[in-house]
């Protein structure tokens, strides 16, 4: 037998040679000092490469039980740094789904009148994006509920019932209120993670599984690099109170709007790729400063378009004396629950 080539030596050391070939190599090595030397070199090389790869190991964590993987949507597996209550009641009285340009215009107008405690769910998406799973009744709801927003909870509830979808991929924000508990839901768009028909409480779960990794992938937070970082004290002075935060989630930074409109941005880190943004301002300022509010909305959208931020889900509500808008690349379900936790 001629000399053993390097690939064969590696396969030999890796225990990957068939028995016949292995004994041939053994026989040759026994009579060939040169190949024995090359074998020693190969052995050292393998050890060195293994040692280098061992430098690049992730911290080992216990694997969750296999059966738990069966039902969880991927985004749930984001390690949630919050001890969730055993049962979380979802936001009651959440508002409307808006989309497209006309929705954004209306949202700006809405911001002016938004002086009573109430919440609104919006979903920003680029107008040119196809609407993969448009719900037949969604267009009706688009212009309807907004004009009705000042006219009382009954109408609001009726409007809500027009938008019972729960799948983020459809572009329709789930609006979870008791009023929809009995209304007909469209068939689940994704069979693998069925949502309960009555999504009022979710035992120990962050949400009911509407979002998937692809939604996370497409949704990106508003780029905040143009917003100056400020200290907590400055944020408090701007807001007249302590900034609202999600308890138990590390605060990455606090920033102020570059548009001189008194908006403070608190960014909290859920994991290395997931940042939740809390935009907040004084509730009274939201009304008094409506022109600035419009400009802020407008400029922020322009910025967002420039940055090619295609989908960021947002919810807003009043927290004490603040109007807080929460945004992040998460399903609306989980954002609404995060918002519930905001103090």
């Amino acid at each position: 037998m001629s000399h053993v080539d390097e690939g064969t030596l590696h396969a030999y050391l890796d225990g990957a040679l068939p028995p016949a070939e292995r004994s041939q190599v053994d026989a040759h090595l026994a009579s060939c000092p040169e190949c024995r030397e090359r074998l020693a070199e190969a052995r050292a090389l393998i050890a060195r490469a293994d040692a280098l790869l061992a430098l690049a190991l992730p911290a080992e964590r216990a694997a969750p039980p296999l059966h738990e993987l069966r039902r969880r949507p991927l985004w749930w597996r984001v390690r949630w740094p919050i001890a969730w209550a055993a049962s979380i009641t979802l936001a009651v009285g959440l508002g409307w789904m808006l989309r497209g340009r006309e929705a954004r215009q209306e949202f700006a107008a809405f911001a002016e009148r938004d002086t009573v405690p109430q919440a609104v769910a919006t979903l920003q998406r680029s107008t040119d994006e196809p609407r993969p799973m448009a719900q037949p009744h969604a267009p009706a709801s688009r212009s309807g509920p907004l004009h009705e927003q000042g006219q009382g909870a009954a109408e609001r509830a009726r409007a809500d019932s027009l938008i019972p979808s729960t799948n983020a991929a459809s572009g329709v924000v789930p609006i979870l209120t008791p009023s929809i508990a009995t209304s007909a839901r469209p068939p689940a768009v994704r069979g693998a993670a069925p949502t309960p028909a009555v999504p009022i409480t979710v035992d120990g779960m962050v949400a009911t599984g509407a979002a998937r990794v692809m939604e996370r992938a497409r949704a990106e937070p508003v780029m905040s690099s143009t917003w100056p970082v400020i200290q907590r004290g400055s944020a408090s002075r701007m807001l007249g109170t302590e900034p609202a935060t999600i308890p138990g989630v590390p605060v990455k930074d606090m920033r102020m709007s570059p548009y001189a409109d008194g908006v403070v941005l608190v960014e909290q880190v859920i994991d290395s790729t997931l940042v939740i943004q809390l935009f907040q301002r004084r509730a009274d300022a939201a009304a008094a400063d409506s022109a600035a509010a419009r400009g802020y909305q407008f400029q922020r959208q322009r910025a967002a378009e420039r940055e090619r931020v295609e989908r960021v889900e947002r919810l807003a509500r009043f927290v004490g004396p603040l109007r807080v808008e929460i945004a992040g690349p998460l399903g609306t379900d989980s954002l609404s629950k995060l918002l519930e936790l905001v103090k």
Binding site: L53, A59, R77
Partner: protein, 169 residues
Amino acid sequence: MPDDLAEIYRTTYHALVRFLYRKVWDAERAADLAQEAFARALVHRPANPRGWLFVVAANLARDEGRRRLRERRHLTLLKAEPAATGEHGEPEEAIDLEARRARVRAALEELTPRDREVLLLWDAGLPYEEIAAQTGLAPGAVGTTLARARRRLVEAYEVGSEETHVARG
């Protein structure tokens, strides 16, 4: 079959995380993607679960890589300010380890995609036959590819070390 998958989960989960980690370089994402691969295996029930899992994991990591590209600006922002939550300085040893890990990563990224894939699959515990099946190599070529990948990894690492340290002689 379910027991089969449970056994593979037990024996292969950490190897799959390791495999993914060297592609996405984020331990949490690697664990997320590994779990996603197993969740899909539970649905699909592939005939050869282990090989299937590594194929799915490689695809997930590739999708993740594309997403990372788009998110790079945001990630840069995050990574640039990791201390906002108040980490107290790391011991020098940890910094050194981090630097070496970064050099290994850089060295791995200098390999050709196929060499790297073969090396990572081998390190994840796949036998030559499965590596050959996954990469389209002839079974007899796996040893040669591995030998080349190992040599290039070590060389690239050492070149990287020389660049960061005082040059030898």
